[in-house]
Symmetry: C2
Subunit: 102 residues, 2 copies
């Protein structure tokens, strides 16, 4: 195996471990990772929920990212939390977008 | 003064006291209150910022309220927090919507 392949495997492994680590936290119902186009990368929820949550969260995150930049173009959204009566949703934007459901 | 007037004065006083109390918290830069149509009710920021923040927050809050209801029609958004590199914005929906800027 050449070193590029090895490196990609390492990154993939680290990525999977991170998702597992977050999912294992007490109270976490699910983890969804989407790319910046809103495409689903990985999810611990069922396919139907993952796709519909992923799309909704992407729209919302785009709005929030725009809102922060609108107020100050040099600023950047780091986290979006939505608390509701029954559930909490946390979105962490980055290269990939991480949606965590409590 | 009749009792209705008295009651309205009491509510108005309580409302003003609440805004003052939140504003006085350490790290709070401003408090904006809008109604559910996005109209500005009161603000501790300057008029220009208040109007533009108020409008942006209203759009975002509407989206978040819709998102929560979409996932579960019997659920309800209680709080929306946006963390960014330089600022944190908290939206508390209710009869009036409270936007708090840290």
């Amino acid at each position: 195996m050449n070193s590029l392949n090895q490196k990609m495997n390492d990154i993939h492994h680290e990525f999977e471990e991170t998702v597992k680590r977050i999912q294992s936290h007490n109270g976490v119902d699910g983890v969804i990772v989407v790319n910046n186009n809103g495409d689903l990368i990985t999810s611990t929820l069922d396919m139907r929920s993952s796709v519909s949550y992923g799309e909704l969260m992407s729209t919302l995150a785009e709005n929030a990212i725009g809102f922060v930049r609108n107020l100050d173009p040099s600023n950047e959204l780091t986290v979006l939390r939505m608390g509701s009566k029954r559930r909490e949703v946390l979105v962490a934007p980055g290269k990939f977008r991480l949606n965590i459901f409590f």
